[in-house]
């Protein structure tokens, strides 16, 4: 399953970018409307990292860990059935041993708390993540300087950080570089920007920013809506 997952991972949209990946110490964002599959896509990014034996912290804001664990389970099951496999203990073990879910409910999320938790993980478990996924953060209410501080943390940890950002059907603001709300005013904070959107032909993942490469041409791949694996476009 590992090979199949890596081959069809939505993260492979970065294959053709200037750095071929997000890169350690850098931040990326995945923008989508509610219900399109931000969390699933983010989990795919996590699985991609996990299958490459990298350590992952999944930060869930607003949802408890059970729901996130169940989400991973569902996606793994979907992938296994797509691979016509009954069970893949090795993959499951790889996921369970190299992933820690940090959930924040009832408005408990603060960067300081996350930083303290990451320090605890390092000290108590010797667990330093290579990738951190932040799901459910409310971009609209972000304090000024939040992403700058986060970017410093990414650099300090040497980890790549992926956010999910919620866009709205009724807010159509897009900046001159084609980056939509809610990232249109802060696109300089992110090295990679992805946009997940359902269109007539299916579910598409678009690359809107490729690091410092200003001359890149927009890439898009079509995803399988049940497994979130790349169907075509690579």
């Amino acid at each position: 399953m590992k090979n199949i997952l890596l081959k069809g991972s939505p993260l492979r949209i970065l294959d053709g970018t200037s750095r071929k990946s997000l890169g350690l110490g850098r931040m990326g964002v995945l923008i989508a409307r509610a219900g399109v599959g931000k969390t699933a896509c983010l989990i795919h990014i996590a699985l991609h990292n996990l299958m490459e034996n990298r350590k992952v912290v999944h930060v869930s804001i607003g949802e408890g860990p059970e729901k996130i664990q169940a989400y991973y389970q569902v996606l793994l099951n979907e992938l296994m059935s797509a691979c016509k496999m009954k069970e893949d203990d090795d993959s499951r073990q790889l996921v369970e041993q190299n992933r820690v879910i940090l959930a924040y409910v009832n408005k408990s999320f603060e960067l300081g708390r996350l930083r303290a938790q990451l320090e605890n993980l390092k000290e108590a478990l010797d667990f330093s993540p290579d990738a951190i996924l932040v799901d459910g953060f409310d971009f609209a209410s972000a304090e000024p300087g939040f992403f700058k501080d986060f970017s410093e943390l990414a650099g300090l940890l040497g980890a790549e950080i992926w956010f999910s950002a919620l866009s709205h059907r009724h807010i159509s603001e897009v900046n001159e570089r084609g980056v939509p709300y809610p990232c249109h005013n802060i696109d300089d904070m992110f090295s990679v920007i992805l946009h997940l959107l359902p269109e007539a032909g299916g579910l598409y993942l678009r690359l809107l920013k490729d690091h410092e490469n200003e001359t890149f041409t927009e890439r898009r791949v079509r995803l399988d809506p049940s497994t979130f694996m790349i169907k075509d476009g690579l």
Binding site: G64, P65, I68, Q69, E87, D89, E96, Q97, V100, I101, L102, A103, Y104, V105, N106, S108, F109, R113, A116, Q117, E119, N120, L121, E123, A124, L125, F127
Partner: protein
């Protein structure tokens, strides 16, 4: 909806140990005229408080077993359950909360929000219990009710709203200013039973007005009428009470009362608060599961004419027999009625129906929805649902935390053995968190419970009430064995010792079975083993599973496939093929690379966030793997998988690491291979132990 039910209140009284729960309950009973004299918890009169009915409780000054009682106040019937404060007895708190519609959370005016207050509060959240707060011990030096009210917000995430402010402070506390009526209330008379209402002292007028504004602001969030009245400066008592009541019932507001139960100040106001702000049974949604329709949820209607649904929430053994406390959710119970226990279908007849008052009782003829009654001589378990037989409902089971500590107990003599058995039988029926079983491997009787004090109390009760003297030891971890490779067998059982012989040959292979358990597959073709002997072969393999060849622990996760064999027309028999199966298993087992498995527990530790690092460290030290953490306000829950063998003594260790502010739950998750680095040493130790036991 019956008017009677609207005047009922079922409340629990919960708090940190020594916050004055029992004292407050005693005063409530006195002012509602249920008792005619007040006794102190550790009183000089030697009588002890009324609710502390067990000797041990009176001696230790803590309430071990919750006792239910009822009283009348202002035309309302109030059922009170006094609950214990120590963390080891939380099942008592949980039970009370399960059947109560509201609660009074007592806080100490000096110590403020303490660790157990936090635990109890979380339990109340779990059961969605609306509460009012009573800040007790306001007469003590260092008392600061305003600070404590603030802590309700900062430490417990409540939305506290002062209903009163104190008149005088510490030992000079004389009464309270009621912010609803804007009157000063004094408690006069020999037992301060007379409530005297006067004008607010001049020096408090300003602060009272300011606090009333805060009260109106907070309450108006729950009533448009109050908000409108506040704009027009026309707030009436009724409007304010109604809004606070709405906020309280929706658990978005916590009215705060204050006083000193010991000095008899403010108790009547708490009773008023219970009646005014806590819900009646009719205002609380209760659901049951319909066993006849695949456990579909059914909302119960608190109507006396509906089919009966009642829950046994506490069992107590009295000198007159077993007493079962019931909460009626729907329908009525009358003396002489027949009822059915949903779990067992057993029919029982209602003999004596009583209403309890600590350890005294009052006989009644019938009880209706919302009522809390007790029955005599009913053989049932705590948590059983009773119906009239016309419905097959079961109340959602009570949340029972898994035991966290176990001990082996050995009676010192034959007499103690008998008595111990009687005691264990009684304790396990009374308390679902206390468990006992005989370890089939060591033969030891193991008891398990919620903490060391929990087990201590039962050991002491065994000694005192049952005259059972026991020695305690360490329990064993339930290790298992499993094979990790496929291996073939071809085994012939042949015996000729005069008379008819025994002959049976079996061939095939064994392999690991991921799902655990045991599976037998018959692939014998052409009748090489006659069909009638196949079950005997299966039985032979099965008989070996109880004791694996590695260390001697039960074997799990084996699939046996038999594909060939041979029988003899005279010497083959069921016995011979059973022996052949057993022999085949023994011969092949070590070839299938067996390993030792240990139970892995899913552990969740809930603690204030400041202790998160300590908690994580404590889990890692115990070979644990942290799977997630969840931050919720000031608390963090760390979830991990930890081998059971490493969890002994964890409760004590965790307490010392977190100043007693953390609690943990543990449940079985799965069996996992013991790491290579530990397996050899463990195997040697276990083999030696097994040898010792055989000797």
């Amino acid at each position: 909806m019956s008017e009677v039910i609207k005047t009922k209140r079922n409340i629990g009284i919960s708090a940190h140990i020594d916050s004055g729960k029992t004292t407050l309950t005693e005063r409530i009973l006195f002012y509602t005229k249920r008792i005619h004299a007040m006794h102190e918890v550790r009183g000089r009169d030697g009588v002890g408080a009324t609710m502390d009915s067990m000797d041990l409780e009176r001696e230790r000054g803590i309430t071990i077993s919750s006792a239910a009682t009822h009283c009348q106040w202002d035309g309302h019937e109030i059922n009170v359950i006094d609950t214990p404060g120590h963390v080891d007895f939380t099942i008592e708190v949980e039970r009370a909360l399960r059947v109560m519609d509201g609660a009074v959370l007592i806080l100490c005016a000096v110590a403020g929000v303490q660790s157990q207050s936090i635990t109890v509060d979380r339990q109340m959240n779990r059961y969605k219990v609306p509460r009012i707060a009573f800040i007790n011990k306001c007469d003590r030096s260092g008392a600061d009710p305003f600070k404590v009210s603030g802590q309700l917000g900062s430490k417990l995430n409540h939305n506290p709203v002062l209903m009163q402010i104190p008149i005088g402070s510490e030992s000079n506390m004389k009464g309270v200013v009621d912010l609803v009526s804007m009157k000063a209330l004094y408690f006069e008379g020999p037992s301060r039973e007379a409530l005297v209402s006067k004008e607010i002292p001049a020096e408090l007028v300003e602060i009272a007005a300011a606090k009333r504004e805060e009260l109106i602001d907070a309450a108006s969030m729950f009533s448009d009428d109050l908000m409108e009245a506040a704009f027009e400066d026309n707030v009436t008592e009724e409007l304010l009470i109604d809004a606070v009541r709405r906020g309280t019932i929706s658990r978005q507001l916590t009215p705060v009362f204050m006083g000193s139960a010991y000095k008899n100040i403010g108790v009547q106001c708490v009773l008023d608060g219970v009646v005014r702000y806590l819900p009646s049974p009719a205002e609380v949604k209760n659901v049951a599961f319909d066993l006849a329709t695949d456990e579909k949820e059914v909302v119960l209607e608190p109507e006396p004419d509906r089919p009966l649904v009642a829950l046994a929430f506490k069992l107590e053994v009295t000198p007159y027999g077993q007493l079962t406390y019931l909460r009626i959710y729907q329908g009525r119970i009358r003396k002489g009625d027949e009822m059915f226990i949903s779990r067992s279908g057993k029919k029982i007849k209602v003999g004596r129906l009583v209403r309890m008052h600590a350890d005294e009782m009052e006989e009644i003829d019938q009880a209706e929805p919302g009522g809390i009654v007790a029955l005599f001589g009913v053989d049932c378990h705590s948590g059983d649902t009773f119906t009239d037989g016309s419905v097959n409902y079961s109340m959602s089971s009570m949340f029972v935390p898994e035991p966290v500590i176990s001990l082996s107990v050995t009676p010192e003599d034959a007499k103690s053995q008998n008595n111990m058995a009687k005691a264990l039988n009684r304790f396990t029926k009374e308390d679902p968190t206390f468990k006992s079983y005989v370890d089939p491997e060591s033969g030891d009787t193991i008891i398990s419970g919620m903490g060391e004090l929990h087990l201590d109390v039962y050991l002491e009760r065994m000694k005192r009430e049952f005259k059972a003297v026991v020695m305690t030891g360490m329990p064993q971890v339930a290790y298992r064995e499993a094979i990790t490779a496929k291996a073939s067998f071809d085994y012939t059982h042949k015996k000729q010792t005069g008379g008819s012989g025994q002959f049976g040959r079996v061939a095939g292979f064994i392999e690991p079975l991921d799902e655990g358990g045991y599976e037998f597959i018959n692939e014998v073709k052409g009748g090489s083993i006659p069909t009638e002997f196949i079950p005997a072969v299966d039985k032979g393999f099965r008989s070996c599973l109880d004791k694996g060849g590695l260390v001697g622990y039960p074997v799990i996760g084996v699939r046996v496939t038999v594909n060939d064999g041979k029988a003899h027309s005279v010497d083959s028999s069921e016995m011979a093929f059973s022996q052949a199966g057993a022999g085949a298993f023994r011969s092949v087992y070590m070839k299938a690379a067996p390993v030792l498995l240990e139970p892995i527990m899913k552990v969740a530790v809930e603690s204030p966030t400041e202790f998160q690092g300590n908690v994580m460290g404590s889990i890692t030290q115990r070979r644990g793997m942290i799977t997630s953490t969840m931050e919720d306000g000031l608390f963090t829950t760390v979830e991990a998988e930890v081998p059971l063998a490493e969890m002994f003594g964890y409760a004590t260790h965790l307490r010392s690491l977190t100043q007693g502010k953390a609690e943990f739950t543990m449940e079985f998750s799965r069996y996992a291979k013991v790491p290579e680095s530990l397996a050899e040493e463990l195997k040697t130790r276990l083999r030696e132990k097994a040898k010792g036991e055989r000797k």
